[in-house]
Amino acid sequence: MAIDSDLMFDFSLNIPRIIISGKYAIIDNVKSIQSFTNQGIVIDTGKQYTVVNGENFILKNLNDDRIFLTGKIDSVEFFYGNKKGD
């Protein structure tokens, strides 16, 4: 990864950043949680909405703009809502 894209990755505060590994997902830059059910979670990351769909979701940790989600993850979707800066 080039230095500029590396820096972009680290300092991108208002764009979604997700790490998914098997049944675990770590989502950064979480500004607010719009919806949370056992089957899905909608997260506002500032510029976008991030939707994670699946089953048996449990939020293992919620702290410092970061959530740690467990459960069967089926899909991840990004929505550009009517937000400032878009």
Binding site: V30, K31, S32, I33, Q34, S35, F36, T37, N38, D44, F57, I58, L59, K60, N61, L62, N63, D64, D65, I67
Partner: protein, 372 residues
């Protein structure tokens, strides 16, 4: 609910294991400090129910609530520690000639006995034993909990070797019929086939000679020679014709054994309905002096005793094995067995075997001539 989560995120509440129960409720873990903040900020927007609490503050509260339990726990720990200061059992191994009771008395004299406090270190016990008993060549002392293990190795006394320039006799070290004497130095005093007892003179170091002038001259020499004698060994072996077999019926029952001091309370004797059984106990706990209590869980297996008559071959094999082990144990390695007689007789269920072994061995030993 979603607003609640966003709010928690913005206020940096540390929430973990958030699980949505239904449309209107969720379950999560929260730190105690955050919980207090959450309750104060609530303003009747949410209904908060504390399902359970864990951690140090809760544990502290529980301790404060159960003072008697905590006091009991401390007393128990103290008792456990206190009883660890005492010696519960002393086990001495390796004694051959020394008297065990005498050693126990000596140890009690220096403050090491069952029920006494552990006042002496293992090194001090060792040095005391070395100092008291000169016949000890090595002592190992160790504590296993409240048990004191003492392992003693006694010195093996080497036979006295009389230097060649000192006059001596050869005497019998045990009873026997003289078979052959090979005299290398000194004068033979017993003929063949004579029975001699222990201590009897066989080859003397006092040699009488007639000198050139016709006078009797006495000369003292170091007697040398080999004295072979037929020694008799008698043994009795008892062998049962019937073998008793314990047959497990497969029925099992369980019970408790409580041991207080040396008294055993066995629930099996009251509640287990088997006529004959074997018991296997496994220890649950055991305390030492001053409160020696032990609790065992016991498994009782019903058995039936069946008898079986041993075959002639089995009896012969068993007797032969016993004879071999008796010979190995009692007859010196350098002795040559010249005759072996076995006399069988039946006493009801028991076969009595009288064994007479005749061996040829060197029975001579050197003894200083005292009155020179």
């Amino acid at each position: 609910m979603n607003k609640f989560l966003s709010r928690a995120l913005n206020h940096n509440f540390h929430l973990t294991k958030i699980k949505r129960i239904d449309e209107l409720s969720l379950e999560c873990n929260i730190l105690q400090r955050d919980y207090k903040k959450l309750v104060s900020m609530n303003n009747n927007q949410y209904r908060i129910t504390l399902l359970s609490s864990k951690g140090f503050p809760e544990c502290r509260q529980r301790i404060i609530r159960n003072k008697a339990f905590v006091l009991g726990l401390f007393i128990f720990i103290f008792l456990l520690y206190y009883q660890g200061l005492f010696i519960n059992e002393i086990h001495i191994q390796g004694l051959e000639h020394l008297d065990e009771n005498q050693i126990f008395d000596f140890l009690a004299g220096i403050g090491v006995s069952e029920g006494y406090k552990k006042v002496l270190s293992t090194d001090e016990i060792k040095s005391n034993l070395y100092h008291e008993y000169k016949d000890i060549s090595w002592v190992g002392v160790s504590y296993t909990g409240n048990k004191l293990h003492i392992e003693i190795v006694e010195k093996v006394k080497a036979p006295e070797i009389i230097p060649m320039d000192i006059p001596c006799d050869i005497v019998a070290k045990k009873q026997g019929y003289i078979d052959n004497i090979i005299t290398k130095n000194g004068t033979r005093v017993v003929p063949d086939d004579v029975f001699v007892n222990e201590g009897d003179l066989l080859v003397t170091g006092i040699v009488k000679k007639i000198n050139a002038s016709g006078d009797e001259e006495i000369k003292y020499v170091h007697a040398l020679g080999e004295v072979y004698a037929r020694t008799i060994y008698r043994f009795i072996i008892l062998e049962e014709k019937i073998e008793y077999l314990k047959i497990n019926t497969g029925k099992k029952d369980y019970g408790w054994n409580l041991k207080v001091g040396d008294t055993l309370f066995d629930t099996g004797k009251i509640f287990v309905g088997f006529d004959r059984y074997t018991r296997v106990s496994s220890k649950i706990f055991e305390t030492m002096i001053p409160l020696p209590i032990a609790l065992y869980c016991a498994e009782y297996s019903e058995i039936e005793i069946e008898t079986r008559i041993k075959s002639q071959e089995e009896i012969e094999k068993s007797i032969n094995n016993q004879v071999e082990s008796i010979i190995k144990k009692n007859i010196p390695e350098d002795a040559k067995i010249s005759n072996k007689d076995l006399m069988f007789s039946e006493l009801g269920n028991i076969i009595k075997v009288e064994i007479m072994i005749e061996a040829i061995e060197d029975i001579g030993t050197e003894r200083r001539i005292e009155n020179i």
